[in-house]
Every structure is written in C-alpha cells, then in structure tokens.
Amino acid sequence: MTRRSGAKSIVATIVTWSVVLATVFPLLWMVITSIKPQQELFTIPPMFWPRSVTLEHYRELLENTPFLKYFGHSLVIASSTTALVLVLGVLGAYSLVRFSYPGRERLALLVLFTYLLPSVVLVLPLYLLMVKVGVANTLLSLVIAYTTFSLPYALWLLRAFMAGTPEDLEWAALVDGASRLGAFFDVVLPQILPGIISTAVFTFIVGWNEYFYALVLVNSDSARPLTTGVMNMLITSFNIEWSLLMAASVMMSLPVIVIFVFLQSHLTRGFAASGVKG
C-alpha cells in the first residue's frame, strides 16, 4: 500500500465512522434513556451512561398502558398488508410478464402514478371512501390504505424477478405433467423467492412504521396502531413521557430490526433487482 492510498483509506474510515455514529447515536440515546431511572433524565449536565439501570419503564408500559393492544393492532395490520400485497403482487406481476393483453405496459406504468402524488392529496379521498364503504376506523381501513401504496412497488419489484425467470421452465413443468398453477408453485415461486422476501420485508416495515395515514384514517383506540397509539398516550400538550416513549420506541423497533438482520441479504438483493432489471 502506498502512503497516499493509506492516507485515503484513513480519511475514508473516519468519514464512514462519523456517518455511522451520527446515524446510530439517536438510537443509542433512545435505548439508554429507556433504561435510565426517571430522576437521571433531566440532570444538568446530561449524563450519557446511566448510574443505575432500570426496566421499570418497560414494566410500566406493558402493565399500565394499552401498549400491547396497539402492538397487536400493528402486527395484524402489517402482517395482513404484507399477505395481501404478496398475493396481489405475485399474481399481478405474473400477469404483467406472462400474459399479453392490450394496455399491459401502460397499466404497469399507471400503478406507479400514485407515487407521483403527495400522500396528503390521496389521504382525504381515501378517508371519504373508507367512510362510504363503512370500514373507517377499523384495522381493515389501514390494511387497504397501506396496500394501495405498497402494491405498486411490489408489482415492479416482483415483475423484475418474474421477467428474469425463463418461460421455458414453466413450459417444461407443463410438459412434465404439472397444471398451470402447479407449474407456478413448483417452478416460478422458488425462482422469485428473493423478490418475495424483499417485498414482504419492505411491505411489513411500511405497514409497521406508517404514521400519517393511521393518524387520519383511525381516531379510535379500537384500531389504533403503535405509531399513533404511542403518540396519543405518551405525548400531550402539557407533558411528554420521555422514559416511556423511549421504552416504547425500543420495543417498536425490535421486530423491524430482527427482521432486517435476518433477511438483510434478500432485501438488498431485492433493491438491486428493482433498479437493474425490469
């Protein structure tokens, strides 16, 4: 290694670690705050490391607040949205790639159209629609809303994977005795599994973290997800329950972090595919 390339590498390392620290610090602060005793939260000067560690905020959150109820709502919403988006996305992408019908390409472009409009433009008509259909203030309203903006991405991502699966494989399966649906399950689905996983992770994260639509479409505790629920119960005009808020944030982040850690490689492959293929 030459002296110049060595210096370059050191500078690159410093810059990289600075960015990593700047990104990680709020998360670290969140975790540390959630295990600090209440009296240590507002000391001056602020203390980074707690003198003693406590889990009382977690206990308080789980025992005396509707946190678990909201958690359950979020789990149902994110999982249902993911399942719905996967079923519609896989079948839709298959149709876009394998069947030829008039306006196929236009349709594929049209589904992206919703991304061109700001959420605030879409949310009010969507709310009125939910009221008319009679599903306003329900978990279903959020599942439908999240599906509308997750599905276009899923369609395009899965379409790229589907297009990369040779049609000959399906023909071969048909000749080998499979039905069209059998060929789809036996041959096509295994080929697009990375796409399915990355779509699922993306959709679940969107459904888990979404705040704006949840705020507008749901104003009852019977269907409130974690994002708006936590805000509603811990942040008021007069007070912010910082320690509980941080404990709630940690627990909210855990499922997403776990999913991301285990399926990271599929997720990055999916993002790469959506950019390169299709």
Binding site: P166, A172, A173, L174, V175, G177, Q191
Partner: protein, 377 residues
C-alpha cells in the same frame, strides 16, 4: 399408424401465418427432423405437438388419438428444450424425478426409475448437484433423463445440441442416435443444422415460411430436392444454381445457361405442357463438378482447403460454380483448368415455380460419364 399424424395444421399469430396447411405422417419409432431456417415454423410446429401452442386449425393425432385439446401433460410426450429448462432449485435427481412426482408415482418406484435413467446416462456422480454446477453436456443429459424417465410415447427435441461446442455436439449427436436405436421411440427433432438432420434422421421435413417444402429421407432431400429452396438449403457448400432455358429437341433436351449448352437425355425431365422451351434453374452439386482433360475452359477463382478436401470456386463462361475436389488437387487462384459436370445428376427446376422438373423418380445411380456434351450446340 400409431405414430404422429398432422393434418392441415395452421397456426396464425395475428396476420402472420407461422405454419400453413402442414401435413405429416410420422411412423411409430421414427426419428424425424423438422429442418429449416429461423422463422420457418419448425419450433411452432413442435410446440403445437407438445400442447404449448394451440393450432389455429387442423388436427394433431398421437397414437391415433386427436390431442388438439389435451394439455401437454396428458399427451404422452416428453420434451427437451433448447435451454434444457432444468429447474434451478432442484438437484439432478429431483429434476429427473419431477415428471414422476407430478404423476403420483410412489416414492420407491420413483427412486428405482430415476436411478435406472441416471445409470443409462452415466450421471451417477451428479445426482445431488444443482444444474448450475453442471457443464453444458451434463445439463443436456439431465434434460434427456427427465424426458426419458417417464417412458413417453413421443420425444420432442427443440434444438437440444445448439448450445454445445462443436466437439461435444458431435459426441452428443452420436449418443442421441444410439439412444434412439436403443429405446426405439418416436422422436421429433427440431434443428436448423442440416448436418444434425442428415446424420440422425430417418426422414427430414424441410420447412420454409411455415410451409412444408419436402418430407423425405436424407438421401431424398439431398439427391432429389423438391424445389429450389430445398436444393439451396440442403448441402454444404450449397448447390450452384444457374438461370437458363431448357429446349426440347427431336431426341434430346438442351439446357442453355448463358453461352453454355448442356445436352441431356429426353427422360431427364418429365416434360408436360405444350411449349418446346422452359425457363429453368439448373442446379449442380459441388461433388458433381470435376476436372478433366476435355471439358469447358474455366478459371480457378478461390480455393478453400478444409484438410480432407478443397472447396473451389471456378469461373466458367463468366458464371461461378462451386466444386468439391480432392485435397491433393493442387490448384491456385487464377489457374486455367477444364471442367465437366455429371449430367445425370444435374437438377432442373422450373424458374418461376421453383419446383423440380427432373423425371427421375427414385434416385438413380450416377453414371459419371464424362461430358463431351458441354459446349455442344
């Protein structure tokens, strides 16, 4: 007949007719090649046989049963694709077992059959590998294995050797011939490579623009091409074709090609119609051109040595003819020679319709008589 019967088969893609009025009778156990250039309709025909495309009209029967409306899996066929179409997520054994699994063959029986095929194709050491870890030749064998394991009545092969290098292709060609001899099943083989078709087939169906041009044995299509297209397409190097006229005289025929006149016996052409002159194309195979002491003066234009022979372009009366000469014929470009044609093997085609006019019926043994007739008027 318990083979394949195709009657008046048509396939249209929009306004484009990919296959037109195709009639083929393939006997059980026969090896038939569908041969033609890209876009001639051979793969479309094969896909209709497989049930992957539906005919616009016409019927396809396999073993005396019309299969037009049957799905591919119920036609008692197996197909080897050009890309092999091996399932990438399955091992070699799973790939070969797949057709049996889809037919509900019990696990134990499946295992026995798969191992039989694995031994037949010498894949014993590869059964647990995924297709991406196999060479082209191995993949090709697995694809064959998947077709063989079900013991279907008919094998359909879509250019299965085209992705292999020349040496492996020759090897696999021999293996396929041996395999066909051993199992004796009907095979329909699509190729654009005339060498494959000529060496492997019992009969060849030559197609162009969706129309069957000729259906016959390799010897038939080579020695008695039905029309100009077949004459030009079959054979390497291609047949030399001259435009000219054919004149009926009292006891002979005379073909006039530019300033060249070739005398032919009356029975060389099955002459119908009232006129005494026909516009023709005259075809000469490269091996029917020879050098001699007598004959017409010609100039060597180009020599292409292939090792075991020389392909030589000769200019005769301002026209170029291709000759296949022995490797020891030491010729140089620009050299003056004398050239003769084997008249009994000259091919005469109607210039407008392109159809064969020779009155030879079955191929005659070449007489190889020297052509003093060249240049005679």
């Amino acid at each position: 007949m318990a083979g394949i019967s195709i009657a008046k088969l048509c396939k249209a893609f929009g306004s484009v007719m990919a296959v037109k009025d195709l009639d083929l009778e393939i006997a059980e156990g026969e090896f038939v090649s569908l041969l033609g250039p890209s876009g001639c309709g051979k793969t479309t025909t094969l896909r209709m046989l497989a049930g992957l495309d539906f005919p616009t009209s016409g019927t396809i029967s396999i073993a005396d049963r019309v299969v037009n409306d049957l799905p591919p899996g119920k036609r008692d066929i197996a197909m080897v694709f050009q890309s092999y179409a091996l399932y990438p997520h399955m091992t070699v054994a799973q790939n070969i077992a797949y057709p049996l699994r889809k037919r509900g063959v019990p696990r134990r029986e499946r295992l026995v059959k798969v191992m039989d095929v694995v031994r037949l194709l010498q894949l014993e050491t590869l059964v647990d590998r995924k297709p991406r870890h196999l060479s082209g030749g191995q993949q090709q064998r697995v694809a064959l294995g998947r077709a063989l394991v079900r013991e279907p009545r008919v094998f359909l092969l879509d250019e299965p050797l085209s992705n292999l290098d020349a040496k492996l292709r020759a090897h696999m060609r021999a293996e396929l011939i041996e395999l066909h001899r051993r199992i004796g099943k009907t095979m329909v083989y699509v190729t654009h490579d005339q060498l494959e078709a000529m060496t492997m087939s019992d009969r060849i169906a030559v197609m162009q623009s969706g129309v069957l041009q000729q259906f016959g044995t390799p010897a038939d299509v080579y020695e008695r091409p039905a029309n100009v297209f077949v004459a030009d397409f079959i054979g390497t190097p291609s047949m030399t074709l001259f435009e000219g006229t054919l004149h009926r005289q009292a006891d002979r025929l005379e073909a006039r090609i530019g300033s060249l006149a070739i005398s032919l016996p009356r029975e060389h052409v099955a002459w119908t119609g009232g006129t005494d002159t026909l516009a023709i194309r005259l075809g000469v195979r490269a091996e029917d051109v020879f050098l001699g002491e007598t004959g017409e003066p010609a100039t060597v234009k180009l020599v292409e040595p292939t090792g075991h022979e020389n392909i030589v372009l000769l200019t005769i009366h301002g026209m170029v003819v291709t000759a296949r000469l022995a490797a020891d014929a030491r010729l140089r470009a620009g050299e003056a020679v004398r050239v003769g044609f084997r008249t009994s093997r000259l091919h005469i085609f109607d210039r407008d319709a392109g159809t064969r006019l020779n009155g030879d019926g079955p191929a005659r043994v070449a007489s190889f008589r020297s052509l003093q007739s060249i240049g005679q008027r």
